[in-house]
């Protein structure tokens, strides 16, 4: 035995400290590489986010302003007689007002006159009509009006139409650019904040198209979704977590709820189309049906979040209440549920934020219809924010390009706001045990 140790070939004694030192360098390098990869991943993620938001802002910010023309309109009693209101030649009146501002333009020529009138948005005559109808004493007077220009002139003003482009490739002809410049020299052109983007519903004309219909539609749909999925989801979660016996049936239900949360949203859309619209005969395109559909999708999220929140309430609180002689129901409703509420609300808000951005099921139930007025009840036809984006992105007019981006920014703004509320609730009411 001792011979073996003596004969062992040991030219140099390597201490364990040296071995550790040698391996340490290798281990440190490995850790460093891992950290670099992690930082790289985060950098790429941020870069992507920056590119996304950056490109949206770059195209979308233009839509937050709208070119307007200020006109001195003489409300001619000959064109607009008081006894024929609300009818009258409002477009001719506006045309005449423009003609006075553009000296040297032959307004007798119908073609030219029509082109001049094209400077203004098609909606301008209705703005004038509404004003005169509201106050008929304006007839015979001169009123100052600020009306939006049509889309090509808006694009020209925002520099989105290159003046250097050959005339035949340009949407605004040379003489039209001259008219516009004349108006601009007179100080009649302005570019205020585009309030119409939020106060108008959809329109065929980009300069008049707004998000009000979509915002109202999304509001009704989310309200319906919340009112249905919140109580049902919490009820189901409380039963499963606190009262149901743990057996095969409850396991089966649990697995299926988790599966339900992963079902593609378009499937829910088809289901809603078949059941809510087909069988129940609920109205097409209605935010109420949209809300029902979204509730189907949000419910699993709420159930899962609620169960997690209920589980996180420490058993010591339940025991304390039970030990005092509280019934199971009192323990749940007086102690566990209030303590779980912040977690439940956080999960609910995140579920609703998901629902707000959901497009596919709404397309299937017809919430991508072209609707020019905001819904006054959840049963009126409406669009929602994501479907409005879908519609605008599909529209050929140039003005809708920036409006699509603007609508996406508005949607993202709401999502950030909702997630912000969720984080705030979590921070504020989170309890350490």
């Amino acid at each position: 035995m001792s011979d073996i140790t003596n004969n062992a070939d040991t030219p140099r004694i390597v201490t364990s400290t040296e071995l550790v030192a040698a391996s340490l360098k290798r281990r440190r390098n490995k850790q460093l590489r891992l950290q670099m990869v992690g930082m790289g991943a985060i950098f790429i993620a941020f870069l992507m986010l920056f590119i996304l938001v950056g490109s949206l802002v770059a195209t979308g910010w233009q839509a937050f302003t709208q070119t307007h023309v200020t006109l001195e309109v003489f409300v001619d009693p000959e064109d607009i007689p008081a006894d024929r209101l609300p009818r009258g030649d409002f477009d001719d009146t506006l045309e005449a007002a423009l003609g006075r501002m553009l000296p040297g333009v032959d307004m007798e020529d119908r073609e030219t006159a029509r082109a001049v009138q094209g400077i203004l948005s098609n909606g301008a005559q209705f703005t004038l009509r509404d004003r005169v109808v509201a106050d008929p004493s304006l007839i015979g007077q001169t009123v100052t009006m600020k009306v939006p220009t049509s889309d090509p002139y808006d694009q020209l003003n925002k520099g989105l139409i290159e003046r250097a482009t050959p005339e035949q490739n340009r949407r605004v002809k040379d003489n039209e650019i001259r008219w516009f410049d004349t108006l601009k020299e007179q100080g009649a052109i302005s570019k205020p904040f585009n309030l119409a983007l939020f106060t108008n519903a959809d329109s065929r004309f980009p300069e008049q198209a707004g998000l009000k219909g979509a915002l109202v539609g999304s509001f009704w749909a989310l309200l319906t979704c919340f009112l249905i999925s919140f109580p049902l989801g919490i009820g189901a979660a409380i039963y499963l977590e606190e009262f149901a016996k743990k057996n095969r049936i409850s396991d089966f239900i649990e697995v299926n709820i988790n599966n339900l949360a992963a079902v593609p949203s378009v499937v829910f859309g088809l289901l809603a189309l078949a059941v809510f619209i087909g069988w129940f005969g609920l109205p097409r395109s209605a935010p109420f049906v949209g809300g029902l559909t979204l509730a189907l999708m949000t419910m699993p999220t709420i159930i899962i979040a609620t169960r997690a929140a209920l589980k996180s309430v420490p058993p010591s609180i339940r025991e304390a209440a039970l030990g005092l002689g509280a019934s199971k129901q009192q323990v749940v409703f007086q102690h566990v549920l209030p303590l779980a509420m912040p977690g439940i609300l956080t999960g609910t808000i995140i579920g609703l934020a998901q629902a707000l951005g959901e497009t596919a099921p709404l397309l299937l139930i017809g919430m991508n219809a072209f609707i020019t007025s905001a819904a006054s009840s959840p049963f009126d036809s409406a669009t929602a924010l994501p479907t409005q984006i879908f519609i605008w992105a599909d529209s050929p007019e140039r003005g809708f390009v920036s409006r699509t981006s603007a609508a996406i920014l508005v949607l993202l703004g709401f999502l950030v706001l909702m997630n912000g509320i969720a984080i705030f609730l979590r921070q504020k009411f989170e309890r350490r045990w």
Partner: protein
């Protein structure tokens, strides 16, 4: 021999018996946690349950107010009588039983509510107070008996969770006695407390025995010796020995008891 002396003891104190357990078996799934335990727990007495970890003393304590009912896999067999009433009778509502048998837990567990609401919760759900004035009275009385009134009387609206560990535990004791129970079960009430707080709680336990039957599970033999008059030694689910505390610590009848109190097992 031991069995004989125990029977005689039980007869002597028969008038004063609060809880009477006969052949109690508790199973957790396949585990036989309590085997054939028969014991009589006296009124106006502090009874200590001692024994090594996992010997079933906490489990047995929790059968006395049916807290084990909340655990799905737990089965209790045998008879337990409280003042001659079978507490596992199907007609007995555990909610009512727990109002009569209060419990204090190992970790102080005040509700995340105000000190006042912590105490008032039990009386409120059981309808013990007819109006605010009566409730105020119950709260003050309970806090006084919990020996914590002087420390919290000027901040009853402060959250109970903001108190120190010892204060929290005394608050929990006050909360338990606010429902006017007849028995107070304490599951290692001092294990999360420092020595000073422990001393305060022990003093309180000593005062409480004037009005209640107190059952305390403890890991500390010194504590059992200090606060209890009767001691039960549990080992591997069996009640090995039950006798006056003095007898247990000075003259144990069973070799296992002797080994435990001299530190050879556990």
């Amino acid at each position: 021999m031991m069995k004989d002396s125990m029977e005689t003891k039980l007869d002597v104190d028969a008038m004063n018996v609060k809880f009477s357990a006969r052949d109690v078996q508790v199973h957790y799934g396949d585990t036989h946690a309590i085997k054939d335990v028969s014991v009589d727990i006296l009124d106006n007495t502090v009874t200590a349950f001692i024994g090594p970890s996992g010997c079933g003393k906490s489990t047995f304590l929790r059968t006395l107010n049916r807290m084990n009912d909340t655990i799905d896999i737990c089965r209790v067999q045998g008879d337990i009588y409280l003042d001659g009433m079978d507490i596992y009778d199907p007609n007995i509502d555990p909610v009512q039983l727990r109002a009569k048998v209060g419990m204090v837990f190992q970790k102080p567990n005040p509700f995340p509510k105000s000190i006042y609401d912590n105490i008032a919760y039990g009386p409120r759900i059981h309808g013990l107070a007819r109006n605010k004035a009566e409730l105020d009275e119950i709260v003050e009385k309970s806090l006084r008996r919990g020996a914590i009134w002087d420390e919290v009387q000027d901040r009853l609206d402060a959250p109970g969770t903001g108190l120190s560990g010892g204060q929290q535990q005394r608050l929990c004791i006050a909360r338990a006695i606010a429902t006017e129970p007849e028995v107070l079960l304490m599951d290692e009430p001092c294990s999360a407390l420092d020595p000073i707080a422990t001393a305060q709680v022990e003093e309180l336990i000593d005062e409480l025995k004037a009005n209640y039957s107190v059952v305390i599970v403890t890991h500390s033999m010194q504590q059992a010796a200090r606060v209890s008059q009767k001691t039960a030694f549990f080992h591997l689910g069996n009640l090995v020995e039950y006798n006056d505390t003095n007898e247990i610590f000075t003259n144990p009848q069973d070799s296992r008891t002797e080994s435990y109190i001299t530190g050879r097992i556990g």
